[in-house]
């Protein structure tokens, strides 16, 4: 806004420049004391996005020295927050530079507010993750990075703040960078979404490297945080992605005109293009692209337009118009990552309402594969999800729904769940795998366009890859292998004592690692005459008495071998190797 101070300011030039500006949305999150509010206040103040009366209204208040402005007060909006000195909800901030307009989704960092971070990340192109340099990498930063990755926020800018408190020490910055980089790598493995990251050493309080490059850290030659935000590629470019157009409304002003109003979720459309309507599967050509400003020769995401087709099709709100050659998957079952957001915990087999694109449909959650701790990335078995829990679940729709995976299409892969009784928004979800229906209505697996993913293998085989070490009597080993084979598990039996492995001691590990990566159960067996059967998977052991394999238990009617096999199935389920008790054959 220093434009006016330049002598040659011209309003026409200004308006022309404004016309070319794009929009970047980013989210911020931080712990209570790591200076997030100060950082945002500083961004707003130094880009002259705060008015003098707003500055006056906070001058002399807050916790800073007399004469200084407590930048945090610029952003703490509600009375309750000012009274308690906390931030209780997502707040949106707006500022603009000569190059770009920005929307900040500013989310609080309290432990119980995972849902707010997810809310902020859902529309963000980038996330600014704060680390307090004087404290190192805390749980909150890990959690924010995890949620950003889970919601497919493309860029993570890591602001290592409070560098002034550690004497602007380069070594400390490098150490935090190395530490957090390895955290981000682990997160990327868990979410299956690579995290593009850039580290910037800053002091929000002193203004170092926030808007202006600072000369107090000559060892850092990179751009300031704002310069980075200005140079990130704008919103994910979906022009070349498959065309997706959820129908919001049928416009029928008179008997001559019938148009389908919606916002293009991805791709490009032109008159003459062949489209298919899902879930019905009927096709037509686009006749016109109608807008108030005139018909268009081409429209790209995310424009809101109205399509007129070349023939009458029965189309209503909630239908998905797609490119015929690259359609979405019509499914009655899918797997999804869920962020639970309601006080009342998840109930399996309870009827929820799925809100997905422009449709609302009943849905059941049929199983919980695991719960993920976003701070440690540990997966644990779960029978429910509580407020702020993140988990992987299986969905069953009562009628077929057209879906994409979230990592292929953010709009068509995202949904919320609504409690049909309380009307609360109880969860946010991201489709991770889809079981499609054939023409005959038989579920098959998604034929996605990329390589087969670990998630798709899991959905088909019912388990992830794992090494299962089994040692004990041969008949029991055979029984276990056959039983796993019988329920459809993909196993590969390897003799631990084969000559090849004895000659090349590292070969066994290489082979099993490859098999685990391919989603296979690698059964590493060691047949012997021991009294015990020992099975080890994912660090958990099971030891059974192998001496009575033929004894039949009077109560259950099962043999000793049957009980041993059953115990192995239970072990593979409790370790989360099988994705559900059903898939584990239990």
């Amino acid at each position: 806004m220093s434009a006016l101070t330049t002598p040659a300011f011209s309003i026409d030039d200004f308006l022309q420049n404004e016309r070319e500006k794009d929009l970047l949305r980013f989210s911020t999150a931080g712990s209570v004391d790591d200076g997030k509010s100060t950082l945002i206040g500083r961004l707003l103040y130094d880009t002259q996005s705060v008015y003098e009366d707003q500055v006056r209204s906070i001058e002399g208040k807050g916790t800073t020295a007399p004469g200084q402005i407590d930048f945090a007060l610029l952003t703490d909006g509600l009375r309750a927050e000012r009274e308690q000195g906390i931030t209780i909800d997502v707040a949106y901030r707006y500022f603009s530079t000569a190059r770009r307009k920005f929307i900040i989704a500013d989310t609080p960092g309290h432990e119980q507010y995972t849902r707010n971070m997810a809310t902020g990340a859902s529309t963000a192109d980038a996330a600014v993750v704060l680390i307090d340099a004087s404290k190192g990498v805390l749980i909150q930063s890990r959690r924010h990075a995890y949620i950003a990755s889970l919601l497919r926020v493309k860029h993570v800018l890591v602001a290592v703040n409070k560098m002034d408190l550690i004497g602007y020490d380069e070594a400390a910055f490098r150490a935090i960078k190395a530490d957090f980089s390895s955290v981000l790598d682990q997160i990327a493995v868990d979410t299956g979404s690579p995290v593009e990251r850039i580290f910037v050493p800053v002091s929000a309080l002193a203004g170092d490297n926030i808007v202006h490059r600072s000369d107090v850290m000559p060892w850092y030659t990179g751009p300031s945080l704002l310069e980075l935000l200005e140079s990130l590629p704008p919103s994910i470019d979906t022009r070349t992605a498959p065309f997706r157009f959820p129908v919001q409304r049928v416009l029928r002003p008179d008997h001559k005109f019938r148009g389908f109003a919606g916002q293009i979720a991805s791709g490009t459309i032109r008159p003459g293009d062949t489209i298919t309507v899902l879930p019905s599967g009927r096709s037509a050509k686009v006749g016109r692209i109608v807008t108030w400003d005139g018909d268009l020769a081409e429209a790209i995401a995310p424009l809101s337009v109205t399509l007129v087709l070349d023939r009458e099709l029965d189309i209503s709100r909630g239908d998905l118009i797609v490119s015929t050659d690259r359609p979405a998957t019509v499914a009655k079952n899918a797997k999804a990552a869920l962020v639970w957001m309601d006080q009342r915990p998840l109930e399996l087999h309870r009827r929820y309402l799925l809100k997905h694109t422009s449709q609302t449909a009943p849905v059941f959650l049929t199983s919980i594969e695991h719960r993920t701790d976003p701070a440690t990335l540990a997966h644990s078995p779960a029978s429910t999800l509580h407020m702020n829990d993140i988990g992987a679940v299986t969905l069953n729709f009562l009628r077929p729904i057209a879906l994409d995976q979230y990592n292929e299409n953010r709009s068509i892969g995202a949904f919320i769940l609504v409690d049909a009784e309380s009307n609360s928004t109880v969860a946010a979800g991201m489709i991770t795998a889809v079981s499609s229906l054939t023409a005959a209505g038989v579920p098959i697996l998604a034929d996605t366009w990329g390589p087969v993913t670990a998630g798709e293998r899991e959905a088909r085989w019912g388990h992830r890859g794992a090494v299962v070490e089994i040692s004990g009597p041969l008949p029991l080993i055979d029984a276990i292998e056959r039983s796993l084979f019988a329920i459809g598990a993909v196993t590969n039996r390897i003799g631990a004592n084969d000559d090849a492995f004895l000659l090349h001691p590292t070969l066994l590990e290489i082979v099993t690692t490859l098999q685990v990566q391919s989603g296979v159960l690698a059964l590493v067996v060691n047949a012997n005459d021991s009294e015990n059967l020992v099975v080890r998977a994912d660090g958990q052991d099971l030891t059974l008495d192998a001496g009575n394999v033929d004894d039949v238990d009077d109560a259950s009617g099962t043999s000793g071998a049957g009980r041993a096999v059953s115990a192995v199935h239970k072990l593979l389920h409790s370790t989360g190797i099988f994705i559900s008790s059903e898939k584990a054959g239990l």
């Binding site: 434009a3 404004e18 929307i103 809310t119 990327a188 590629p233 005109f257 109608v290 946010a428």
Partner: protein
């Protein structure tokens, strides 16, 4: 812009020259707002658009025309008239509704107006409570509206920054900031029980600058009061008070002609004018760039006490 090699990781941030066709921020905001308007019109039984005659309402109305074209706007407009609106605003309102063929409803709290309610006899808080908040709630209840569009923007005021696009209100029309529904992606929860309602803010993500630029680009008509001209004003230090209502005058006070304009349109007793030479929209935008105070600074209602907008919203105000 160069990114130091040492700061790069996984994949370098390629700063590609912006390839056409790239959508401008105004096209992106427009597309988002139209999506919201269509969702509400399709998911609620009885939506209504609060039309306040100001610049934000003018933009919202244009977006509604665009959203349903070539069909007409599928909901009525509602103006809550306090009786203190400028005569030019009322004339503009009636002409606008007539020219675009929209159904216009006007609601006044007649009993409070007849009782002589004004911001000097009462305080501004109680005056607003009766003539705006109470009137709005009565109108929504009378017509049984379950969704009401408002032109409020998040950049206007700190408590508005925390508003959802779909703002849930209980059966008394009240906002509970600590108990808002999470709102992700562009998926809005439209479910309400009987008596409850949603206030919808399609311009949530627009700034004051965006609104003026859009009015300029789209040639949207706005009330003449936004443009500077010689107008009679009571001059009190920096403050300029329109003479529209006689009770505003202090004993012996005489109006002066001042080249001035209104930056936001409210009730005449509580809306100060600013000295200005801006006679065109580009001139208003140029003025905006040079401004160092926010647009609501001339509204008495926001400043009665710390957090007063938040309290009004809790009571049912927009």
């Amino acid at each position: 812009m160069p990114v130091a090699e040492s700061e790069r990781h996984t994949s370098p941030l390629q700063v590609t020259p912006h390839a056409p066709p790239r959508l401008s921020h105004l096209r992106l905001l427009e597309a988002e707002s139209i999506h919201i308007l269509r969702e509400v019109a399709s998911e609620f039984e009885r939506p209504v658009m609060l039309y306040s005659i100001g610049k934000d309402s003018s933009v919202m109305l244009r977006l509604a025309q665009k959203a349903f074209y070539p069909a007409p706007i599928p909901f009525p407009l509602l103006h809550v008239d306090t009786g203190f609106k400028f005569a030019e605003m009322i004339a503009f309102r009636d002409e606008m509704a007539r020219s675009i063929g929209a159904e216009l409803l006007v609601w006044r709290n007649e009993s409070a107006i007849a009782a002589g309610t004004n911001p000097i006899a009462l305080d501004t808080k109680r005056c607003c409570g009766l003539l705006k908040t109470q009137a709005l709630l009565d109108a929504l209840r009378h017509y049984n509206f379950d969704a009401a569009f408002g032109g409020a923007r998040r950049d206007e005021e700190k408590s508005r920054a925390k508003e959802r696009i779909y703002s849930f209100r209980d059966s008394a029309g009240q906002w509970d900031p600590k108990n808002q529904r999470p709102e992700l992606w562009n998926l809005y929860n439209a479910r309400v029980h009987p008596g409850e309602s949603i206030r919808v803010f399609p311009l949530s993500n627009w700034t004051e600058m965006d609104v003026w630029q859009y009015i300029h680009e789209e040639k949207i008509p706005v009330v003449d009061l936004y443009f500077a001209k010689e107008r009679p004003m009571y001059v009190r230090g920096e403050a300029l008070l329109p003479i529209e209502q006689a009770f505003v005058a202090r004993l012996g006070e005489k109006p002066q002609m001042v080249k001035s304009r209104l930056r936001s349109l409210g009730c005449s007793p509580c809306t100060g004018a600013i000295r200005s030479d801006a006679e065109t929209i580009p001139a208003i935008i140029a003025e905006l760039i040079s401004f160092r105070s926010s647009e609501r600074a001339n509204r008495v209602i926001d400043h009665d006490q710390e957090g007063s907008m938040e309290m009004k919203k809790r009571e049912g105000y927009f």
